[in-house]
Chain length 246, copies 3
């Protein structure tokens, strides 16, 4: 990494790539936020798909450019489906990300998250409680999101401070950030650049949306508008990024 | 069909019938857009139901006035449920529509779409890629939706040019149009009039909504407002309709 | 109950408790409105969870402060899950509520609603058709919601007249009111006060939202904004409450 301003410029360029190339992102997404995530990807210019049936998931994973595996509303069938899809992604060397939602609530979910991380995702993303349980993982970019996001892939460690407190009142903003990271990885092979691009896009769009909102409901609509309108130059002008401590 | 202006007048009248009669529409709908479709039907004045369990679907299908079968997020249980519900609809001569979502992604889904079309829906609706795979079907009204919608039922062929590009950034507008067609068929026995009414309603509402929007998020809310507010005279004043080439 | 003005004051205070204590509410919620309900709870300050898999539901129910059991999109697995979760709630003396959605459509769903009510929820809430079938139940607070809500727990009977007709055009407002009642019960042991607080909150927020709306789509966003902004003094100033007839 040649310094933070290079990282921001590359991250901004990756937004332009997403808009040009319209990558397909297959989402194994909890049932709560499927439409919110699909709409967020569509606002960005990506093409979402969501099916999670055992007989169809491999065909969808093969057509996708990247995969996001979200562990919300997990059950036995969904475990089977996730194993099938991640196997397709690994064989075809497509980037994929694990989002271990609420692995701090359920021991069986934590065990499955660890099983998946062994398989070799490019990225794992969670909140502070989730990432504390996940711990250190060699060769995987670890992202802890919150008021400030932290990205760690030895020897790099970056903090992204963009965002807005209203995001915490909208169910699914964390899940969406996982899907956006997948979309950026589909067009940018350096996953630190890709994830930084996704988190800056989401955080700066949230800041723009908050100015047009009077609460979480109008914020959610304005956030989608801002995701659709955001330009690479907005990222360069508004990025708040720093080196993280070791 | 006695000319296009008669078709538009009948289509506008069918919107008035939906608002008066509040038909029940049972939706076997992919899990992604269930609330969006239910809200769109409610804005129109119809009464949606959504259950898709084998032990309950027949009771719900019997109470419904029309049925929409959407193949998104298909799995084995959903196939069973769809067979049960379409059997009830056929026995009771209730109108139903098949929406073969993403049948171009998965061979097993395409095979199931073809099986269903043999059973005898009134309408099949998809995008260009999906409808190309479905091909010609005797006795079924085929609708290809996109920037311009095409409706074909020999010897008639009609094009509806209303709509707005923001619809493509909102997940579920295609799925909703299938549900709206079912609602119109519940009150108008001529399916070409019914489907034309549904597509004009959706397309003109989208045009009105786009004027009040600053992106896909505010557009989605304004589109629902416009669906609730649209009047038959708005259809007559704004319809852009023509004969399609053979 | 020491008169209606005391009830309103206590109900308003319970809104303050929810905002302070941020209770966890586990929702066994139909798949249609999961995000809408999660967002409504989050706007109130509560922490929603939604998983409904047999292997995880007990861990989630144990961490929750209250439980809402909604019978929409019911199937066999969901029945198993509901039995597991309500058993945890009963053992730990956590408050829970049953919402027998559409039990008037399906005999098997009505039978299951009756089975659950035997187990001992604090509250059962439905619309007029549903509550007529449920009938009288000893020791359970019965709530019939509609243009005017009625709450009955012998010898008390209260009517809440706040609300707005646009609520009926938004899929899930009834389901959300069940979840809000659970959130209020998590912080207020008197369930009549808790449920009154939840229904006043929802109804007054809807009245505020309607003033900023031009239809059901903009109303839904404004309603979430109003849920987030509503203060105890708004409840005291705007409550429309009366004794119900016997």
């Amino acid at each position: 990494m040649n310094g933070l301003s290079n990282l921001v410029e590359s991250a901004a360029a990756s937004l332009a790539f997403v808009r040009q190339r319209c990558p397909r992102v297959h989402c194994l997404m909890n049932t709560v936020v499927q439409k919110f995530v699909a709409d967020g990807l569509a606002a960005l210019g990506a093409i979402p798909s969501m099916t999670s049936s055992p007989e169809e998931v491999e065909a969808f994973a093969r057509r996708a450019d990247a995969l996001v595996v979200n562990l919300g509303t997990l059950n036995e069938e969904r475990r089977t489906v996730i194993r099938l899809a991640t196997s397709v992604a690994c064989d075809a060397r497509k980037p994929w990300i694990v989002d271990p939602v609420h692995c701090d609530y359920s021991p069986s979910r934590l065990a499955f998250a660890r099983e998946l991380i062994e398989v070799g995702p490019a990225v794992v993303r969670g909140n502070a409680s989730e990432m504390e349980l996940i711990g250190d993982v060699d060769g995987v970019l670890r992202i802890k999101t919150g008021p400030v996001d932290e990205l760690r892939l030895d020897p790099d460690a970056v903090r992204v401070a963009n965002g807005h407190p209203l995001m915490a009142q909208v169910t699914g903003t964390g899940c969406l950030s996982g899907a956006l990271i997948a979309a950026f990885m589909a067009v940018e092979p350096d996953r630190l650049i890709a994830a930084t691009g996704a988190l800056l896009t989401s955080g700066i769009a949230a800041e723009m949306a908050a100015k047009r909102s009077s609460g979480p409901g109008t914020f959610e609509a304005a956030f989608r508008d801002a995701l659709a309108a955001l330009r690479p130059e907005d990222i360069i002008a508004n990025a708040r990024i720093s080196h993280a401590q070791g």
